[in-house]
Symmetry: C3
Subunit: 169 residues, 3 copies
């Protein structure tokens, strides 16, 4: 198995201006490292253009997994899903449904996450919430599926049928 | 805190023609009043154009919350989600996922709701089912998140970072 | 009640080339027959064009229910949702949310299903996973809603209000 790599993109006006410390980004890096991903950290401001540019760059680089943190809520500057949707080739709704449904009945604000996830080329892109708790809870839910998901993306077409019969989704 | 306002739009051919009494609309008004929203009631016929027009009018009026009831099922005239999608700027899938998931394992017809939710300008738009029971059950699920959601939409950009650090989604 | 009919479309390069036995397709046929649908079986290769063509043919034929099996995962050739989305008039997200949510906390790979469902004309189209277990588990979840869903699609406009008041979604 090749080693897997990931990038965390912290989306925050205040962090990108140096007015606040980034806590959710490093939390995501720590967890993804623990899941076996060699993980880097980027910081961009809120808004469609900064986030979309950062995503496109990492997808072109062929990064296996790109995780954003922040910008998925209801505030006027929360535009991370709108920046993510246009770069996605194939939507993967189950990942964000699983993240959100873990909060139902527990935290009434979990249903306000507008996060999306999907595949762009051979990169898996996932929006996470902007709080440390949200990052931790979300990655606890989807973490067990991430390395398998990324390995499937790398399947060569000739390997695909065999892989599929072993891991049918 | 400014007072919050809402509009319920009953979507029903029969009610709009005076052939049936509107029960789900008044039920929604009653519940939203109880949640602190000063709530008005509109009635329109089924179909994309009547519903989309009513939504656009209320969004232009700057209403905080617009809730539809009816037209989210599988009948040929159930077109409320198709009328809603084009007026939405930012989708909010967690609200309808939460509404539907509360019915899974309980009521096999809950999974037939095609309701969507999202943000249009500074207005939150949510489709609810067309029955009194469906309205009551759905608002019991999402009610605890509604006033916070609407307050977030009103954030001025300069307030946003502070609000976000308090209520991270 | 008219008798209901269905088509299962097995989506698999290997099965369509005769290199593997189709097991998930016959499993779906067996279950749908048991649910009261007179069910036929098609086999096509992976990819947008073969799947979209097969779907369009069955929709034109006026088949009540078309179920695909396979091609909903993360492999490079898993394109069944991308073939399905363009033929759908009205999305029915609750069916696939219910299918996936039944796996949350049980099987971490369930959240990798990218299945979609929706209505095309008077045909209900649903993507299922490509394994026998995935087909069985998914149809166990949505089976109780299928015949009612298909009956609603057949509603004549003049019957609709009455039907709606009996079965409000």
């Amino acid at each position: 198995m090749d080693s897997l790599n990931a990038t965390v993109i912290t989306v925050s006006d205040r962090v990108s201006r140096g007015e606040a410390e980034d806590r959710s980004g490093p939390a995501a890096v720590r967890i993804l490292n623990g899941l076996g991903f060699a993980t880097e950290l980027d910081v961009v401001s809120d808004g469609v253009e900064p986030v979309a540019s950062a995503l496109r760059q990492r997808i072109e680089d062929g990064v296996d997994l790109v995780v954003t943190t922040g910008g998925t809520g209801f505030g006027p500057r929360d535009l991370t899903p709108e920046a993510t949707a246009p770069v996605i080739d194939r939507m993967a709704p189950g990942l964000v449904e699983a993240m959100r449904s873990a909060t139902f009945g527990e935290n009434p604000h979990g249903m306000l996450s507008r996060a999306i996830a999907g595949i762009a080329g051979s990169t898996l892109v996932i929006n996470l919430p902007g709080s440390v708790t949200g990052v931790e809870e979300s990655l606890a839910v989807i973490g067990p599926a991430l390395s398998h998901a990324v390995e499937l993306l790398k399947d060569r077409p000739t390997d695909h049928a065999a892989s599929k019969s072993e891991h049918p989704e």
